[in-house]
């Protein structure tokens, strides 16, 4: 476990929890990234601005942060075909399953939603199995 970074993980997690709390208490909206992005195309006129604002903050704030604190490591080892297939699966799967790590994994668990608890267990399990197959069976 020599890559374990407990302090930054809890601090960053706290900020994510604060973000989810703010969006629910102020706007009455779930901070689920796949839903906020994925429903952008079909949203009614009055339902668009907050989505755009959330995405703008999501992209701009880290950019501002790294310009002060330096760019953190980004190690993306997947091959180009894997990136494309993975992206398609993440996009389609999160819409079909009505949520991702933020909507089900943070907001849903915090609300004790049975659907989100099931979804979180399933996407975690699928992730564990996929990585196990790729790293330990196929590369043996």
């Amino acid at each position: 476990m020599h890559n374990f970074t407990p302090v930054s993980a809890i601090l960053g997690g706290g900020l994510i929890g604060l973000a989810a709390s703010l969006l629910w208490l102020a706007n009455g909206r779930i901070a689920g990234v796949s839903g906020i992005v994925g429903n952008l195309g079909s949203a009614r006129a009055g339902d668009i601005a907050w989505r755009v604002a959330f995405i703008a903050g999501l992209v701009a704030a880290p950019l501002g942060y790294v310009s002060l604190a330096g760019v953190p490591p980004i190690q993306l080892d997947a091959s180009t075909p894997a990136i494309i297939v993975g992206g398609l699966l993440v996009g389609f799967g999160t819409r079909l399953g009505s949520g991702c790590t933020s909507g089900h994994g943070v907001c849903g668990l915090a609300r004790l939603s049975p659907r989100s608890i099931v979804a979180t267990c399933l996407f975690m399990a699928a992730g564990f199995v996929t990585v196990f197959l790729l790293r330990h069976l196929m590369e043996g």
């Binding site: 960053g12 629910w24 880290p62 950019l63 993440v90 996009g91 943070v106």
Partner: protein
């Protein structure tokens, strides 16, 4: 509007500070048989420790502070759509190490390969939106409830 902007900003900062914007770190969590990195679990715990009391607090509010009503997710049953969608998402997550939030949060400072992931993800989302629910295989249309 301003609350949504601030929420997105806090969300992005949290993902960056916790290094969830690094796919190798996420895959380190998913690799339980390897050199396991439990950081992602602590990110979720940290988020839940703040968000769970806030959701509980909101039960005592008739309406949000800046909107007319809470957009409560429909509490339907666990159906095949949820199950298959979550499994497909998990496979894609395990292939690359990106889920939607971190991919978008690092878009401004990551490489073109991250952009390729985000573009593929948006195409996947658009593909879902383009397929009408009626054209899904029946296994996706019906609840498991009989």
């Amino acid at each position: 509007m301003m609350a949504a902007l601030a929420s997105g900003a806090l969300f992005g900062l949290g993902l960056t500070v916790s290094q969830m914007t690094n796919p190798a770190k996420v895959l380190g969590f998913l690799d339980i048989a390897g050199d396991w990195d439990p950081s992602l679990a602590l990110v979720m715990l940290g988020a839940l420790a703040v968000a769970a009391p806030a959701y509980w607090l909101a039960r005592h509010l008739n309406q949000p502070l800046c909107a007319d009503s809470f957009a409560r997710p429909v509490e339907a049953e666990v159906d095949n759509r949820l199950i298959i969608g979550a499994l497909l998402f998990g496979v894609g997550w395990g292939l690359v190490g990106y889920c939607p939030g971190p991919a978008l949060a690092s878009l401004g400072f990551a490489s073109g390969r991250t952009l390729l992931f985000v573009a593929s993800m948006l195409i996947g989302m658009a593909a879902f939106a383009a397929v009408s629910p009626d054209s899904f295989p029946s296994v996706l249309r019906h609840n498991t409830r009989h």
